[in-house]
Amino acid sequence: MVVRFAGDSGDGVQLLGAQFAESTALAGADFSTFPDFPAEIRAPVGTTFGVSAFQINLGARRISTAGDQPDVLVALNPAALKVNLPLLHKGALILLNTDAFNDRNFAKAHIAADPRKTGELDDYQVIEIAISTQTLEAVKPHGLSKSDAEQCKNFWALGAVLWMFGRDRDPIVQWAQKKFAKKSPEILAGNLAALDAGHAYAETAELSAEIPQFAIGEAPMEKGEYRSITGAEAISLGLAAAGELADREIVFCGYPITPASSILHYLSKMGDLGVATFQAEDEIAACCAAIGASYGGKIGVTSSSGPGIALKTEAIGLGMATELPLVIVNSQRGGPSTGLPTKTEQSDLYQAVYGRNADSPLPVLAASSPGDCFDAAIEATRVAIRHMTPIFLLTDGYIANAAGPWALPDMDDYEPIEVNASPATVEDGDDPSLALKKAIWKRDEKSYGRPWVAPGMEGLAHRIGGLEKDIETGDISYDPANHQAMGELRAKKVASVADFIADQTVEQGPEKGPLVVVGWGSTHGAIWRAVNQANEQGMEVAQVHLRWLNPLPKNLKALLSNYDRILLPEMNFGQCATLLRDRLELDVVQLNKVSGQPFKIAEVLDAIRENYPGAKQAAE
């Protein structure tokens, strides 16, 4: 069951959706959310480009995406109806706020005639409610100004929807009390009155026969504790957890950018978990300060989105050259250039894998769901410290903001992150200074990580920098053979990550067969459901989802060679496909979507059908 809330960006649609998701979580159903909002903070009221929406898919089975087509749309104004109507399937239920359906709003949304009268809504079940009037009536006793009173209409709509799904209002009341009590008791009272009024209206109004009720049962989930989490929050907690596992503080240095800022916000509240945050003067400074912190012995982390990552590039190269750990989180968004700041894309893969001056390989991994961001952040930090290298952790606008239930991990299940902080003694005759230099640059035989020596450590003073250095002593070196050796060392270091990571597995479907769907990052949910459905429909399709993009798992080529055809859906024009062709010399069929919107299950399923031998004919 897919529900979509839509209204003006100032209507509180995101709050409405988030609270409905919270209520869904408490009711035990599985769910996945998709906040879909404009880049403008408060776009002109009533316009189509100011429409903000929140979609949630909920059910008593495993939910893997926010849903292809809404079954229910709550539209708070004509613009919201106009923008979202094309998404609905025929027969969907639409709740309209009739108070907003007037000529003025039609004009703002460039609607020629009242859609309720043109017949364009004939294929849908439409329920018309004067939500604004009802809200004003309900909050009247609380003495709010007209504009404040109108602002309560999201709570009114929430009340009505809660009734439709047979949900308890108490948790929402408790949440609102916490949120608004200090700010304004009047606004709290108004919102709660609107919530109750919406609920009562849906239950008792004369129209009640028209408002259907849905019973969504509990989803079968494994035993354990759950909470709802967004990707940004999970990354933040994962970084804090990595700090705990390494017993080192995290110094997170960021600069505001959509959609990555929320990581900075979350971490700013995690001081007690050994996290410090620094808002730098720009993206470059944020990266440099994080490297400075790593140089000082803390775990430096920086985060941004594509345009900001581009600015950090030179500093990342220095982190690599000086062999310091650094975690770089990229919450990818639509590009190029400023692009679509609030929309999602996976188009910074080239940037992460190939995008620096000179031969400068770095490990790259990607998180596949909001909850997975937690483990991905721990793994990224572990690799950065083990191999003493900057590392890219890719996520995107979709999973950064989307929420789903998350089985809480047991922190005892994670191995501590080992830090090699003291150089092994190297004997070098009578020259202690040379011996010290060699000790500082003596790299681990398996990971090529060097000891993490920080200023302040006694007797270990040394100099580092971006000039090419002697492979043994770290002194500046222009020696041709040495430069060749250093280049090879940097490549070997990143390749060696593959010796430590898990073998690639087949997530579902046969180990060998006509078709495998390979994905990476946030497309996981849509691919999972599509492959699942394809198998239910009798097709033998496998799913392989990559966590590691650089290096690729050692067994990946052999594993993928067991299939006749590889289909690769991704939200770019074929960047991972290029990578697989480049690194594994495999033939890949691309499925590219670059609309700023995540994949629909149906889109992946259609591509599976098209690429499945004989399936098309069988269907016809």
């Binding site: 909470r227 110094v251 007690d272 430096g300």
Partner: protein
């Protein structure tokens, strides 16, 4: 008893690669000597630099050192000071590195008042890239990139620092260790961002650019060494600076019985930004070059404030396992 430290204790085994006669040699020697004088601990001392001739400095200092990227040294140093506020951090930059590509970072490290010494070697030219004009080059500077003379107005480094709300601003001359060393000591003692402009002679691309006021023979007439609470005298006390109330500017006057009495000579107040403003903006012609500590007005340093305002002063008091369970958690049985 350890034997006293000498400049040699702060030298490294690396061959110094500046041009023969470069002012950087004198500064290097002066810094090494100064650190020996104050018995600095090399293990707690870090030199951070950007890119340019001056930025090779860390390789030649027996201390920790980080040669970073062009213009960004202040950002690296800020992250380092956050990670370990106990370190004694020295930033080495130049007019191109600090005021052109890195102007933004210099602004922010100064206004944040991050505790470090910032030595800006000003030679009014890009040396390492072979002589292009820099943001401090005077109008009309002929260089490979400005064959008919530069046209843009230069930036005054100390005026930039004052505008950025720097709390310590000083000036020195590369070859004048006698006066530069006390300035560096004062900068090191200052808790906060201490900005020191050092006039540095680029022997190859901008030779003797500062000769007007650097030349030893005429130094008494062309330099004024400022001391807090003392009248602004120079030329062996025969001249001084007097405040003209009408123009709110300092004027050069003769001092003596038949001229201006010494009581009327303006007294240096290093805590007064208006005084610093007047000194920094003295015209080049007809006035002595103000040297020494021009401004010193302490305030809480960024690194102190950073950890003071941190929710747990940097201590790990919570557990992630508990943090995961904050908010609404439900159980599936």
């Amino acid at each position: 008893m350890n034997k006293p430290l000498t400049a040699k204790d702060f030298a490294t085994d690396q061959e110094v690669r500046w041009c023969p006669g470069c002012g950087d040699y004198a500064i290097l020697k002066c810094v090494q000597k100064t650190l020996a004088d104050v018995e600095a601990n090399p293990d707690k001392t870090v030199f951070v630099s950007g890119i340019g001739c001056s930025s090779r400095f860390p390789y030649y200092m027996n201390a920790y050192g980080f040669h970073t990227i062009h213009g960004r040294a202040p950002a690296f140093a800020t992250g380092l000071k956050i990670a370990n506020p106990d370190l004694d951090v020295w930033l080495v930059t130049g007019d191109g590195d600090g005021l052109s590509i890195g102007g933004n970072h210099l602004l922010h490290v100064l206004r944040r008042n991050v505790d470090m010494q910032i030595m800006l070697f000003n030679n009014e030219i890009y040396g390492l890239t072979k002589g292009q004009y820099s943001p401090t080059s005077r109008v009309g500077t002929r260089s490979p990139s400005t064959p008919s003379g530069s046209i843009d107005s230069p930036v005054n480094p100390c005026a930039f620092a004052l505008g950025a709300n720097a709390r310590f601003i000083a000036r020195g001359i590369d070859t004048d260790a006698k006066n530069l060393s006390p300035v560096l000591k004062a900068a090191r003692e200052f808790k906060g961002a201490a900005f020191v402009e050092i006039f540095q002679n680029c022997i190859v691309y901008n030779k003797d650019r500062f000769e007007d006021f650097v030349a030893k023979k005429t130094a008494a007439e062309t330099q004024i060494h400022l001391e807090h609470g003392k009248p602004m005298l120079f030329a062996n006390g025969e001249k001084g600076l007097k405040l003209n109330i009408q123009t709110l500017a300092l004027e050069v006057v003769d001092v003596g019985e038949n001229a201006t009495p010494v009581e009327d000579i303006f007294v240096h107040d290093e805590t007064n930004p208006a005084v610093a403003q007047m000194l920094i903006n003295l015209p080049m012609q007809g006035y002595p070059m103000p040297l020494g500590v021009l401004y010193r007005n302490p305030a809480e340093s960024f690194d102190d404030a950073f950890w003071k305002h941190h929710p747990t002063q940097g201590k790990r008091t919570g557990k992630v396992a508990d943090a995961l369970r904050k908010g609404s958690v439900w159980k599936k049985n």
